[in-house]
Symmetry: C2
Subunit: 215 residues, 2 copies
């Protein structure tokens, strides 16, 4: 398998965690999102993924896109170390937690949105950071409220083994920490993150441990 | 089953289509997103869904949130009239198309984002509409490119029966048409939408045919 990845991409980080949790080997193909106007927009990559978004996974000559779709694919093709519960309600709960990040939080604060705010819309650096914090804190608050209310948590978001939800939570907390968001206001998220980040699969997926990592 | 819905909510519209395609009866519980500061933010609803987002589905006393997670749940619990293909690659493709809308497009242009732009950020009506068009056109372009490239299309996004991707495509086109986006630039999306909108399941789910529909 080949994973088109960028060390600091949240969406790629999610898939790296899933691959590692399942013990699957892959070749990392770095695509630099900032160099030279963005390598993701060059034809070499848009031939792979016309959306010019990272990640993409190539498996048996087939290219798959969208981090959640890729993780579900890995879970179906490699069911050992499952990343979704066995029952339909549990699966819906894990998917909903993942989508709270993937649909409600991250899309508002990813690189292309921040570039649009600073470029065409002329936001100051401070206004851009305020935007980032606003949507991140709102998303984290929703995630925290669901974790607290739904009653499915264990050491991980759902029970005592990692699921797709944890593959999303950890990269989002990594982003939040880069922007100095005080995680003490989200005690369940902070506790789950602390538990995850020391596990080998998560360590190996971390942005600081990639072949394309920069200082 | 109870569906917490709002006639014009894209995310609720998606789930209504899925319920109708499967021939499942449900009670619609309208939650008015604009009345009285937003009924979704009152405790009567945040007790149901702490994220204050529509839709939520209640089934056998369990509340599920996030439109894609709800549709997958319905597909697992009611596998007649499947909304995902049988094979893992096909499922990944349909999920990726759905996520191109649910993760890359709609979150940037939904009601709470538009209100944030016009309120705290002081965007003019024109600037807000420009924002809306920018992200919608980008999302539609990505969706069109994937439909064209992936080669899975039939009369629907994937083959000749409706899938979860069509449940997402039709509400997004409905939004685009409200903002007068010229759909001729997206011929595959336009053709699939035209085919879908005349089918009974899609007609019954349309914002103009809901118990809470307003002029």
């Amino acid at each position: 398998m080949k994973l088109y990845t960028y060390f600091r991409s949240s969406a790629a980080y999610r898939v790296r965690i899933a691959l590692n949790l399942k013990g699957l080997e892959y070749d990392a193909i770095p695509v630099h999102l900032l160099r030279d106007g963005g390598e993701q927009r060059k034809q070499a990559y848009t031939d792979v993924n016309p959306s010019a978004l990272i990640p993409a996974l190539e498996d048996n000559g087939v290219v798959l896109t969208q981090s959640l779709a890729i993780i579900e694919y890995l879970d179906e093709e490699h069911p050992m170390v499952p990343l979704l519960p066995q029952d339909a309600v549990g699966r819906a709960r894990v998917r909903a937690l993942a989508q709270t990040i993937a649909c409600d939080t991250h899309p508002l604060t990813n690189l292309r949105v921040l570039k649009h705010l600073k470029g065409p819309l002329g936001f100051t650096e401070e206004a851009k950071n305020e935007w980032w914090k606003h949507w991140n804190i709102l998303g984290m608050r929703d995630l925290e409220a669901h974790l607290e209310r739904d009653g499915d948590m264990g050491r991980f978001c759902y029970g005592d083994t990692p699921t797709m939800a944890d593959c999303l939570l950890v990269p989002q907390v990594f982003n939040a920490q880069r922007f100095n968001i005080d995680m003490a206001q989200f005690p369940n998220i902070a506790r789950i993150n602390e538990h995850c980040v020391n596990l080998p699969a998560f360590v190996a997926a971390h942005p600081s441990n990639q072949p394309d990592t920069e200082a």
